[in-house]
C-alpha cells in the first residue's frame, strides 16, 4: 500500500512541476508586453525599460521561472498588472465563491446521480429505467445557462425563495451566502448529475453481469442487497474517475453560470484577466487549477486503492 501511495505522490509532484514549466513557457511565448500594457501606448522607451527591470522581465528565462515557482510555493503569486494588488488576494476572494460553489454542485450531483444510477440499473430495460435515462439524456442535452434561467424564473422570480443573482459575501452570514449559491450550484449540478447517473448505471450493469453477483444471489441475498453490497463498490471506479473530472470542470468551467448569476467567481476573474492581458493573474489561476486537478486525481487514485484491494500491492 505504501509503495502505491509513494508512487502516486511522486507522479503527482512530477506532473505539477512539468505543468508549471509548460504554463510559464506558454505565457512567455504569447505576444503582448505587460509593461507596455501598464504604461499605455505613449510611454517612452526609457520608462518601459525601467518598468521591465522593476518587474524582473529582463532577467534570463530559467532564473525568472525559478523566481516565479519559488514565489508560488510561498503563496506569493506576484502583483496583478491591472489591479496592482497581490494576486493571492484576488484569488482568495474569488475562491471563497468558486470553491463552495463547486463543492455544493459536486455533492448535489453525487447525491442525485448515484441513487438514480442504482434505480435504473436495478430496473434495467423496464419503464422506470427508460424514464430515468430519458430524463438524464435531456439533462445532458439542455445547456446549463438555459436551465439556470429557468431556475431563476421558478425559484427567484415566481416563488421568491432565493435571490436571482449576486453574492452578498460571507460577511453577510453563512446562510445568506449559501442561499445565493444554491441555484447556481443546482444549475451546475444537474447536467453533471445526468452524466454521472448514466455512468453509474452502465458501470453497475456491467458489474451485475459478473459471476460473483450470481454467487451473492445464490447465498440468498435479495436483489437489492446484492446491488448495494456487492455491485456498487465494484462499480465505483469509473464513477470516481468521472467525479474527479467533473470537480475540475466545476472549479473553473463555470464562467457562463457565474455570469448568469452575477457571481464574482474564478471563471470571471480569468476571463477578465485574459481580456486585459493581466498575464500574471492568468498564470496564477491556471497554476492553481492545475494543482487542484492534480490533487483531485491523486485523491481519486488513492480511493481506487481503498476500493479495490488488487491495486494496493501493484506498483
Amino acid at each position: 500500500m505504501s509503495a502505491y501511495v509513494a508512487k502516486r505522490l511522486a507522479t503527482a509532484i512530477a506532473t505539477l512541476v512539468l505543468a508549471s514549466m509548460v504554463v510559464f513557457a506558454v505565457l512567455e511565448i504569447l505576444p503582448g508586453d505587460p509593461a507596455r500594457l501598464m504604461l499605455g501606448m505613449n510611454a517612452s522607451a526609457d520608462q518601459l525599460q525601467l518598468l521591465r527591470d522593476q518587474m524582473g522581465l529582463n532577467a534570463p528565462l530559467p532564473w525568472r521561472y525559478l523566481h516565479w515557482a519559488g514565489g508560488l510555493l510561498s503563496l506569493d503569486f506576484g502583483r496583478s498588472y491591472t489591479y496592482s494588488v497581490p494576486v493571492i488576494d484576488l484569488v482568495r476572494e474569488r475562491l471563497a465563491v468558486s470553491l463552495p460553489l463547486a463543492l455544493i454542485a459536486l455533492a448535489l450531483s453525487t447525491v442525485i446521480a448515484i441513487p438514480v444510477g442504482l434505480f435504473s440499473a436495478g430496473r434495467r430495460g423496464r419503464a422506470g429505467d427508460t424514464l430515468a435515462m430519458g430524463t438524464a439524456q435531456l439533462g445532458v442535452a439542455i445547456p446549463n445557462f438555459w436551465f439556470a434561467l429557468m431556475l431563476i424564473y421558478v425559484f427567484a422570480v415566481w416563488l421568491r425563495l432565493v435571490p436571482a443573482g449576486g453574492f452578498p459575501g460571507w460577511s453577510a452570514g453563512a446562510w445568506q451566502a449559501l442561499r445565493s449559491l444554491l441555484l447556481p450550484a443546482l444549475a451546475l449540478a444537474l447536467p453533471q448529475a445526468a452524466i454521472l447517473a448514466r455512468v453509474t448505471r452502465s458501470a453497475l450493469i456491467e458489474v451485475l453481469n459478473e459471476d460473483y453477483i450470481r454467487t451473492a444471489r445464490a447465498k440468498g441475498l435479495p436483489y437489492r442487497a446484492v446491488l448495494w453490497r456487492h455491485a456498487l463498490r465494484n462499480a465505483m471506479i469509473p464513477v470516481l474517475t468521472i467525479l474527479g473530472l467533473q470537480f475540475a470542470f466545476l472549479l473553473a468551467g463555470t464562467i457562463i453560470i457565474e455570469n448568469v448569476f452575477y457571481l464574482p467567481g474564478l471563471g470571471r476573474l480569468v476571463f477578465q484577466a485574459i481580456t486585459q492581458r493581466d498575464l500574471i493573474v492568468v498564470e496564477s489561476v491556471v497554476m492553481l487549477l492545475v494543482a487542484a486537478v492534480i490533487a483531485v486525481n491523486l485523491i481519486v487514485d488513492l480511493s481506487y486503492a481503498i476500493i479495490d484491494p488488487r491495486l494496493r500491492n501493484r506498483q
Binding site: Y212, R214, A218, K219, L221, R229
Partner: protein, 540 residues
C-alpha cells in the same frame, strides 16, 4: 419422497425453447449426475432450481424441493432457501468471488443473513467452514482477498460459502472444469466427504462422463434440453442402451486411428531444446530490494523428430505454457538454446524469425477468444501468410484459405462468414486451418480440445491425427488432460515445478509412471473405463 423432484419441466427464454419436459430427482445423501454437451440445458436446469433465471425466461412444470413448490414460491421464500437449504457452486472459481471483499466477509455474509447471528459469531462459523474445506487459519486468515488465492483455493472458498449453512441440496455446476486434474480430484473428494457428513443431496453437473461416473449414484443424460436416458450410473454406462449414451461414452474414450507411431527417429531432430531456463524477476519489495526471481522453467532439454507427436503434461503453473512460448519464440529464455530444424532461434530478431514462424504454428485453447470477431474468416485464416516470402495476390490468397478450410473439413462457403457464425468445434477447426495454411512442420497446441465437448473433441483429435498422417506435421501438445495425451501422442514429457521429471513412450509413462509427479497425475486423472469397472465391482 425425494428431496428434489422435477416433473415435466419446460423452459423457454423469449421464443427459444431451452428445456423440454425434464424429469429428475435427488434424494438426501444421494449424488445425481447431470450430463450433457454445451447448450444441452444443464446450467439452465440448475438456475431454474435456484430461480436465478434470466429476466425473459419462462418455466412451466413442477419443481418440488422439500415440499416447497419452487416455481410458485415468492421471491422472499426463495431468498430464504438459497444459501440456506440449497447451495450452489459454479464453474469459474476465478470470477465467482467478489474481488473487493475478503474471503471472511464473503463466507460470513450468508451465515449472518440467514441466521441473524452477530458478526463475531458468523466469522467464527466462517472460520470453521474454511478449515473444513482445507483452508487452515495459519495460511488463510479471514482477511485474505480472492486475488491472493489460486484457482483451486478459490473454489474451496466458493464451496465453503455454499455449504456454510449445511444445505440439504448442493448444486455443483461444472465445479472442477477450470482446474487441473490433481486439484479436480481434491475438490471431488471434498464434495464427496461433505455429502457423506451431512447426508446432503448433490446434483453434479458436468460434461465429463468420467467425473460423473466416479461421483454419481444415478445419472441423467441431457441433450438439446431433453432427457435422453436416466438411471443407475454403472448400469446406464455399461449397458449403453440409448444410442446417445453410447455415442457420448465412446467419444469420451475415443482414440484416433494413427499411422505407426513415430519413435525418436534417427537423422536431424526437428526441434531441439538445450538447457533452457526462464526466470521472472521477483517483485520489488522496497526501493533497494526485490524478492528472489521466480524460475518458471528450469534447465529443460528435449528433442522432437519430424512427424512426431509429443505431449507435454503437468499441473497448472508447472511452466509448460512458458516453455511453449519460448519454443514459439514469443518469449526469450534466460539461458539455454532452442534449435528448430538445426537453426538456433534463441536471440534472433523478429525479421530473421520469419522462415521459422512459417514452419512452426500454434493452436490455442480458447476458440472463442483467439479470433477478432469483426473480421471475416478469409482474413482470419490468412493471417499467417504474411510470413511467406512471396507477396500473394488476392485470388491466390483466397485459394489458399479455401484449401486450408477444405483440409479441416470446412466449406468454401465459410470464407465470407464471421467467427460468431460457427460453433465451438468449427471455430477450433478454423484455428487449425489458420495454423496449417503455411504448411508448417510443427504445430504447438496449448490445450487444444479442453474447451470442447466430448464428441467434438473426438472429431478434432481425428483431424489432428489425419493431418499428421497426410502432411507429416509434428505436434507438441500442451495439456493437463491425460486422455488427450493417451489418445494422440507418441511420447510424453511430464513437467513439474519447471523441470521435466519424466519422459518416455506414452503407454509406458502413463501406464507405469515412476516419478511422484507423474504418479499423482495418473492417479487423479478420471478414466471412464476404470470408473465404470470400479462402480460395477463395488455394486457386485
Amino acid at each position: 419422497m425425494s428431496l428434489l423432484e422435477i416433473k415435466n419441466l419446460s423452459l423457454s427464454i423469449g421464443d427459444a425453447p431451452i428445456l423440454r419436459e425434464v424429469e429428475l430427482s435427488v434424494a438426501s445423501g444421494e449424488v445425481v449426475g447431470l450430463v450433457g454437451e454445451s447448450g444441452s440445458g444443464k446450467s439452465m436446469t440448475a438456475l431454474t432450481l435456484m430461480r436465478l433465471l434470466p429476466y425473459a425466461a419462462r418455466a412451466t412444470g413442477r419443481v418440488t424441493f422439500d415440499g416447497i413448490d419452487i416455481l410458485a414460491a415468492r421471491e422472499d421464500q426463495m431468498c430464504a432457501l438459497r444459501g440456506a437449504d440449497i447451495g450452489m457452486v459454479f464453474q469459474e472459481p476465478m470470477t465467482a468471488l467478489n474481488p473487493v471483499k475478503t474471503i471472511g466477509e464473503q463466507v460470513a455474509e450468508g451465515i449472518r443473513w440467514h441466521t441473524k447471528v452477530t458478526r463475531a459469531e458468523a466469522e467464527e462459523r466462517a472460520r470453521k467452514m474454511l478449515d473444513r474445506v482445507g483452508l487452515p487459519e495459519a495460511e488463510f486468515p479471514l482477511s485474505r482477498y480472492p486475488h491472493q488465492l489460486s484457482g483451486g483455493q478459490r473454489q474451496r472458498v466458493v464451496i465453503a460459502i455454499a455449504c456454510a449453512l449445511k444445505p440439504k441440496l448442493l448444486i455443483a455446476d461444472e465445479p472442477t472444469t477450470a482446474l487441473d486434474v490433481v486439484l479436480q480430484a481434491q475438490i471431488l473428494d471434498l464434495l464427496r466427504d461433505l455429502v457423506a457428513e451431512s447426508r446432503m443431496g448433490l446434483l453434479l453437473i458436468s460434461h465429463d462422463l468420467a467425473v460423473v461416473t466416479e461421483m454419481a449414484d444415478r445419472i441423467t443424460i441431457l441433450r438439446h434440453g431433453e432427457v435422453m436416458e436416466s438411471g443407475d450410473t454403472a448400469r446406464t454406462l455399461s449397458e449403453q442402451l440409448h444410442p446417445y449414451t453410447r455415442q457420448l461414452a465412446q467419444a469420451s474414450m475415443h482414440v484416433p486411428e494413427r499411422a505407426r507411431p513415430h519413435g525418436g527417429a534417427a537423422g536431424q531432430p526437428l526441434l531441439q531444446v538445450d538447457g533452457v531456463t526462464r526466470d521472472y524477476p521477483g517483485r520489488r519489495v522496497s526501493l533497494f530490494s526485490r524478492a528472489p526471481d521466480t524460475r518458471a522453467v528450469d534447465n529443460v532439454s528435449l528433442s522432437m523428430a519430424p512427424g512426431q507427436s509429443v505431449a507435454l503434461v503437468g499441473r497448472s503453473g508447472c511452466g509448460k505454457s512458458t516453455l511453449a512460448r519460448m519454443i514459439l519464440a514469443l518469449d526469450r529464455p534466460s539461458s539455454g538454446t532452442i534449435r528448430f530444424r538445426g537453426e538456433t532461434i534463441t536471440g534472433k530478431r523478429q525479421a530473421e524469425l520469419k522462415p521459422v514462424r512459417r514452419d512452426m504454428q500454434v493452436v490455442f485453447q480458447d476458440p472463442y477468444g483467439s479470433f477478432d470477431p469483426r473480421q471475416k474468416v478469409e482474413r482470419l485464416v490468412a493471417e499467417p501468410l504474411h510470413v511467406l516470402d512471396k507477396k500473394l495476390s488476392r485470388a491466390e490468397r483466397r485459394e489458399m484459405v479455401a484449401h486450408a478450410l477444405h483440409e479441416v473439413g470446412l466449406d468454401q462457403r465459410d470464407l465470407d462468414k464471421y467467427p460468431h457464425e460457427f460453433s465451438g468445434g468449427q471455430r477450433q477447426r478454423l484455428s487449425i486451418a489458420r495454423a496449417i495454411i503455411t504448411r508448417p512442420k510443427l504445430i504447438v497446441a496449448d490445450e487444444p480440445v479442453s474447451a470442447l465437448d466430448v464428441s467434438i473433441r473426438a472429431q478434432i483429435l481425428d483431424l489432428f491425427a489425419e493431418l499428421n498422417r497426410r502432411h507429416g506435421i509434428a505436434y507438441l501438445f500442451i495439456t493437463h488432460d491425460l486422455t488427450v495425451a493417451r489418445a494422440i501422442s507418441d511420447e510424453v514429457l511430464v513437467m513439474h515445478c519447471g523441470k521435466i521429471v519424466e519422459r518416455g513412450k506414452t503407454s509406458e509413462v502413463l501406464g507405469h509412471p515412476r516419478s511422484d509427479a507423474a504418479r499423482a497425475l495418473v492417479a487423479a486423472a478420471p478414466d471412464l473405463r476404470v470408473a465404470i469397472a470400479r462402480r460395477l465391482r463395488e455394486q457386485g
